[in-house]
């Protein structure tokens, strides 16, 4: 490794290896750590007391639990799909954003995974969805979308973590080599799996990395579709739509990209990584976000068209989502996830940190409201009017949601503290290519 190459990536490597990390980081960690404590509190209380501490009822048996689950899965999917495509296409942008796109995806899966377990009436029995050889030979119900979901989310967690980890191995080795303290060196060394940078290693690594990236592609479609199936296969008039998976995949992609954009802009300004995540990268990312928002817009339109073509109950249900008690959710979703991102048509907006943060958040918020509108607003219209009720989230549910946001932020913060947020080996590779050309 030439000394020049070392110099190129020094600022990236310096971040995890430095002893001090500044007040802002600490403050952010304390805040998110507080939210993680809140998460722990809400999880313990829901386990002890039951899901009755939430606003759920009959017929709204699912509330924030599934809203947030679907939302986090959307982020995870969008981000990992994006990262995988970049890896496979060997796109320049991957150097800049791949690492934390993968990280975002993995942390979002962790946040998402909390909900399906803790939303159960008896969460300690969650493993019954797993086909283990039980004494009574009772198997899971393989026709249930929830069983599919169990497989989907566990596969998703494994593949996303693999994608992230495989990409990290050469950089972990770099950190090991540059670590100044023995203990740190040892820890990075364990995770670097004995990486020595031989040509054979590189060859295997490239193969493994691309293999996992390919795995991500179908998985993403399956994962989001499975979440969508949980709604689409039911008899609920508003949910019973074959377009549901498409809606979840496409809007989830927009949401994942927007969070990648948000994190990229924050890291770029926060860690002064302008050289590695340059304006062009951000510009490209902005265009992608804009494109995905337009696709979301089309899907919102498609939703209405599909409802118009459907039978009367579905029409009523859609109309109720647009004009009923929960109409606010629906329109908020459209404004935040489709209209506001149109700002990105302007180059100035694409290059502005504030606009990046704003649009990134806005799509995230918009899709969250869309999930709320589907899961709650969609359930309001059912075949028997006698059972119609309303759902109102409680503090315990809100606390749980904030808690997962805190967990996500805390994981991100630890990630930027202890691991290189920009792929060093890809950067070196890029620099090398530039030099040689």
């Amino acid at each position: 490794m030439s000394s020049e190459a070392i110099a190129v990536t020094t600022p990236v490597a310096e971040v995890p290896l430095s002893r001090r990390f500044g007040r802002v980081w600490w403050c952010a960690l304390v805040v998110s750590g507080g939210l993680v404590l809140l998460l722990g509190y809400t999880l313990v209380s829901v386990t002890i007391l039951g899901v009755g501490i939430w606003g759920v009822n009959i017929p709204f048996v699912w509330g924030f639990d599934l809203i947030n689950y679907a939302w986090w899965i959307g982020i995870a999917n969008g981000a990992s799909l994006f990262a995988a495509i970049l890896v496979l296409r060997r796109h320049d942008l991957r150097t800049a954003v791949n690492r934390f796109a993968e990280g975002v995806a993995f942390f979002a899966v962790i946040c998402a995974g909390i909900f399906p377990i803790f939303h159960l009436g008896r969460p300690w029995l969650f493993y019954w969805t797993f086909p283990y050889p039980a004494t009574f030979e009772v198997w899971p119900q393989f026709r249930s979308t929830l069983t599919w979901d169990f497989w989907a989310i566990s596969t998703h967690a494994i593949v996303t973590s693999l994608l992230w980890y495989v990409g990290l191995i050469p950089d972990l080795a770099t950190l090991r080599d540059r670590a100044r303290r023995k203990s740190v060196q040892r820890i990075y060394g364990i995770f670097a799996l004995g990486w020595r940078g031989s040509v054979r290693h590189w060859a295997y690594h490239q193969r493994a990395y691309r293999l996992v990236a390919i795995l991500v592609l179908p998985l993403i479609l399956i994962m989001q579709s499975t979440v969508a199936f949980e709604f689409a296969v039911t008899l609920v008039p508003d949910w019973h739509e074959t377009r549901q998976p498409l809606h979840f995949v496409a809007t989830g992609l927009a949401q994942g990209l927007s969070i990648v954009l948000l994190v990229a802009v924050l890291l770029r300004s926060g860690l002064r990584l302008g050289r590695y995540i340059d304006e062009e990268d951000i510009d490209l990312l902005g265009k992608l976000v804009l494109a995905s928002a337009i696709v979301s817009g089309y899907l919102f339109l498609d939703e209405v068209i599909a409802a118009l073509l459907a039978e009367r109950m579905a029409q009523e249900a859609m109309l109720n989502r647009m004009t009923g008690d929960y109409a606010g959710l629906y329109w908020t979703a459209i404004v935040y996830s489709v209209l506001i991102p149109q700002l990105l048509w302007f180059k100035a907006a694409r290059n502005s940190t504030i606009a990046g943060v704003f649009v990134g958040l806005s799509i995230g918020v918009g899709i969250w409201f869309d999930r709320f509108s589907i899961i709650v607003g969609g359930l309001q219209t059912d075949y028997l009017p006698s059972i119609s009720r309303n759902y109102q989230p409680t503090l315990a549910e809100t606390g749980l949601f904030l808690g997962t946001i805190g967990l996500f932020a805390a994981l991100l913060l630890l990630f930027v503290r202890f691991l290189p947020v920009v792929s060093m080996f890809e950067t070196r590779h890029d620099e090398h290519l530039e030099k040689s050309s």
């Binding site: 017929p59 709204f60 026709r143 039911t234 009720r389």
Partner: protein, 968 residues
């Protein structure tokens, strides 16, 4: 209180009563050494004494048995040893097999009238009440109050010790105090003694009253019930010149006109009336009966009417006058209600097979006119019969007002309140609570330490009707014997026993009842006594009809001048808590009221038009002002209510009902007057605040979907298109269970809902949880409105689990916790459920209920002694739903197998089916083409709810039959 026990049982009981369970067992040896215990054991188990040497272990074993019994006996206020083994056990099988529940026939009172019931007793614990098929007021059906009485029996708030000025006393202290007082009163011939009791139909109690009256000739007796029939009886006196009760025969009635009240819910014979009316509707040979309901507040009978005429109370008298005049002259007077001609025509057409019935809230003038119309139509003898009053009152029995006057005048030195809760139920113009405080010595006998107990010097616990002996007459005079179905759960005296003691009889509830009937029957008493206990009724005891004829000198009084201003305020017993008696009953509090679906509270019911005038919406508070007394209440807009009137249900706003009932709703007695107890004139104005009203159904229209289908009398439903399914059909070699619910028969009375709750250990969740939409009822009765909100069509639809053949819930459960059984049931495996709730999402009927929290361990939950041991108590976090009473299917199957025969049709009766007065619910084997349910499912009225979804429900409905409207 029992004198002359051979050993000091009282001290022993006192000791045991003061011991709690665990300490009792730890102190066994210590206790066994006490001399009185030794004496007790010797008396109970002479074998032990005779056996020369008994090792310590045997002694202790016997000791523990006897102490356990002693512990039970310690709960008994003094009649221990006199409770002979329960006599009646023959309704299930001869003899008692451990584990097999006993069925005991007895009677339960409602407003003084008896309804025959059969109580299921499991290992000494009564767990379920069913109707007694032999009893004329039940015919096997029950109302909500009878179903819920079992929960009242176990009410932990029931009084268990005498109180003196609020301080607990022992029974010895009570006896010590009261005996000299009684003796003094005997000497004084009862001067200054006033006795207040609710009207009763019990022959034994009436006999004891007569005896006591001989002993205390100068005592004054008063009768009071907040739900009185004074107007009707007064009208009988004016029109016929004698005091009579009326018994209707709706099976004979071709045209029925009801004027207020509720034949299907509030009359003492309501179950019978509903059953008879439905039986008449089912008669194929005759045209459908016509039912007209003229009423202020929509009633259950009104919802079944061919024509409902909402009318302010003040207009009813003029209406009846016009009707009478129309019947008389053949043409309606000018300016009378447009419906009158139609009603008169229908009445005339039916002739003697017509019936006009007025509710108890109508004035005596209305009742008098109704009596006259019935007499003129010749209805007496066919659809109406007059009988001697079932709750007779001697002419010198005073009213509550008389009592108030006597107390105010200082004439009352002693007051005995024998049952009831008059301090709460008294009209507001009689401040009975403070009047009672002015009586030098007052005593209250009651089941609860209620509002009356709080103002009396002494409170004596009254035993529950299921714990004591007695007898009760039904609406038609048929006597049902009342026998204890359990060892007393709390020490107490029945009213019979108390009066017996006053009259100098021994403390022997059974002896008192036997005394009455020994006198009446003479020879062959023993045999008849046993038979009557087993049957639950005294055969041929129905009152014979008495001849009534219009007094020749009777003329209708000129109609009282109706007030021109103000709003009419009417009072009515509550469909859930009656007059307040059931306020501490969680099942009833959580039972959605038939029309408003309100739970845990009451509301001022107003018409949509009234609401529009005052700018009110449901839940807005109003201030009612009646004669200067004010009351704040939330309103509920009730379609079909008469405009210009507001209905208040009684029984809420209890201050000392107990832990469940305190402070729920508003107390309508606070503006009720003794002069006009049923209809008053007042003012209302919006209070500008909201009082939340909890209702389980917030949407009232069917939104144009064919949820409840309606056909004309000879019309058939178009068959639904059969859709194909991807999944193969299930094979059924044995039984395939199914249910048919006849919407033409359902009157919305809710008996099925409570029966299901009692049978299946369904939790009470409390008002906060119901407000969140988490009530647990497996069976709900949906109520829909159609047509004009001013006078809508009302439809009831009981919705249990449909047990779909292609059940959507089954395929979405990830852990196979809800599965199809080999007999077609959609089984719920509680143990396997992890609580994803996705099954509920996919259930289009939303009949699944989820244990969001631990509902079995809350302050309002039913005590575990009441638990049906055949039904799992569900844990937090699992889904539950209607099982078609799978435990009853299992029991019937076991019985059939023991007798080595196939299950017979009708052998499996679900709890809802058993309670239904109109036999609207039929359950059985749909694999058997001859079964009743199969035949019903062949009916051209049969349809599947949401059949287009291809769930192929096993519960299907029979369309309601409606006459085409004459008025267009």
């Amino acid at each position: 209180m029992s004198e002359g026990a051979p050993f000091d049982l009282e001290a022993m009981r006192a000791r045991l009563a003061n011991e709690d369970g665990p300490r009792l067992w730890r102190s066994l040896e210590e206790l066994a050494d006490l001399p009185e215990v030794r004496r007790y054991v010797e008396a109970e188990f002479p074998d032990i004494v005779q056996a020369a040497r008994i090792d310590r272990r045997t002694l202790l074993r016997l000791m523990s048995a006897s102490l356990a019994l002693g512990g039970l006996a310690a709960c008994d206020g003094g009649s221990a040893g006199k409770n002979a083994p329960l006599l009646s056990q023959s309704h299930t099988m001869p003899g008692h097999v451990p584990g097999v529940p006993l069925t005991v026939a007895t009677s339960l009172p409602l407003n003084g009238f008896g309804r025959g019931v059969l109580v299921k007793v499991q290992e000494g614990r009564p767990i379920k009440i069913e109707g007694n098929p032999l009893h004329p007021a039940s015919l096997g059906a029950t109302d909500v109050f009878a179903q819920a009485e079992i929960l009242s029996l176990y009410d932990p708030d029931r009084s268990d010790a005498p109180l003196q000025n609020g301080v607990e006393r022992t029974w010895q202290e009570l006896t010590g105090f009261i005996r000299p007082v009684r003796n003094e009163l005997v000497v004084a011939e009862g001067k200054g003694l006033h006795i207040l009791m609710p009207p009763t139909s019990s022959p034994t109690l009436l006999r004891l009253v007569a005896q006591a009256r001989q002993l205390f000739p100068l005592a004054r007796w008063h009768s009071f019930s907040p739900i009185d029939d004074d107007n009707r009886r007064a009208a009988g006196m004016t029109v016929f010149g004698r005091d009579v009760d009326l018994v209707y025969d709706l099976a004979q009635a071709d045209t029925i006109v009801t004027l207020g009240g509720d034949l299907f819910a509030e009359e003492p014979g309501h179950l019978r009336y509903a059953a008879d009316h439905q039986a008449r509707r089912r008669l194929r040979e005759r045209e459908l009966p016509r039912l007209f309901a003229v009423e202020t507040r929509p009633s259950l009978v009104g919802t079944r009417a061919d024509e409902r005429i909402p009318l302010r109370p003040r207009d009813v008298e003029a209406f009846v006058e016009s009707l009478a005049a129309t019947l008389e002259t053949g043409s309606a007077p000018v300016g009378s209600h447009p419906s009158i001609t139609r009603i008169a025509d229908a009445l005339r057409k039916a002739g003697s097979r017509s019936l006009v019935a007025a509710g108890r809230e109508q004035g005596s003038a209305v009742h008098a006119l109704v009596h006259a119309i019935n007499a003129r139509l010749g209805a007496f003898g066919t659809t109406v019969r007059a009988i001697e009053p079932v709750r007779p009152l001697a002419s010198d029995v005073g009213t509550l007002a008389d009592l108030a006057q006597a107390i105010a005048a200082g004439q009352a030195s002693h007051l005995v309140v024998l049952g009831g809760n008059p301090a709460y139920t008294a009209p507001a113009d009689i401040d009975l609570a403070s009047l009672i405080r002015r009586v030098p010595l007052s005593l209250h006998l009651g089941q609860h330490r209620d509002e009356t107990a709080a103002v009396c010097h002494w409170h004596v616990p009254e035993s529950h009707p299921l714990e004591s002996w007695g007898d009760l007459s039904a609406f038609d005079g048929t006597v049902g014997l009342r026998q204890p179905v359990t060892m007393p759960l709390k020490p107490g005296l029945s009213a019979d026993e108390f009066l017996g003691l006053m009259a100098g009889q021994a403390l022997d509830g059974r002896g008192l009842v036997q005394g009455t009937w020994r006198e009446a029957w003479g020879e062959g008493f023993e045999e008849r006594w046993v038979r009557s206990l087993e049957d639950g009724i005294v055969d041929n005891s129905a009152s014979p009809p008495v001849d009534v004829a219009l007094r020749p000198d009777w003329k209708p009084e000129p109609a009282a001048l109706a007030p021109s201003a103000g709003i009419d305020v009417t009072f009515t017993p509550d469909p859930s808590v009656w007059d307040g008696t059931y306020a501490n009953n969680g099942w009833l509090q959580e039972l959605p009221k038939p029309l408003t679906k309100q739970v845990w509270g009451n509301a001022a019911l107003i018409a949509p038009e009234t609401a529009a005038i005052f700018g009110l919406s449901s839940g807005d508070a109003i201030d009612l002002n009646v004669d200067g007394r004010t009351l704040r209440a939330p309103v509920w807009i009730l379609p079909g209510h008469a405009t210009g009137a507001v209905t208040l249900t009684l029984g809420y706003g209890r201050r000392q009902a107990g832990r469940v009932g305190n402070g729920i709703g508003f107390d309508a007695y606070a503006i009720r007057s003794s002069q006009r107890p049923w209809v008053a004139t007042g003012e209302i104005k919006a209070a500008g605040v909201r009082i939340p009203v909890i209702s389980t159904q917030q949407h009232h229209s069917m939104q144009g979907r064919d949820i409840v289908r309606v056909v004309a009398p000879d019309q058939n439903l178009l068959p639904d298109k059969a859709n194909p399914s991807l999944y193969p059909d299930w094979p059924y070699e044995g039984h395939a269970w199914g249910m048919a619910i006849d919407l033409d028969a359902c009157i919305g009375c809710n008996a099925c809902v409570i029966a299901c709750q009692a049978e299946n250990n369904i939790a009470i969740v409390g008002p906060e949880e119901v407000a969140k939409g988490r009530e647990m009822h497996w069976l709900r009765v949906d109520r829909y409105y159609g047509g004009d909100p001013a006078s809508p069509d009302t439809y009831f639809q009981p919705v249990p689990c449909m047990h779909c053949e292609k059940a959507p819930c089954e395929v979405v459960c990830p852990v196979n916790a809800t599965v199809h059984s080999s007999e077609g049931l959609n089984d719920m495996v509680y143990n396997r459920c992890v609580g994803t709730r996705t099954c509920s999402n996919n259930c289009p009927y939303k009949v699944r209920r989820f244990n969001f929290l631990d509902y079995q361990g809350t302050d309002v939950s039913a005590p575990s002694d009441l638990t049906n041991p055949q039904v799992t108590v569900r844990d937090r976090g699992v889904m539950e739903k209607c099982t078609y009473c799978i435990q009853r299917i299992g029991t019937a199957r076991a019985d059939a197998r023991i007798e080595d025969r196939p299950l017979r049709d009708g052998e499996v009766v679900t709890a809802c089916q058993q309670a239904c007065p109109t036999k609207a619910i039929v359950f059985g084997d749909v694999n058997d083409p001859e079964s009743t349910v199969s035949r019903l499912k062949q009916s051209p009225r049969n349809y599947a709810l949401l059949g287009a979804l291809n769930t192929r429900p096993r519960t299907t409905y029979l369309a309601r039959i409606e006459q085409p409207r004459e008025d267009g």
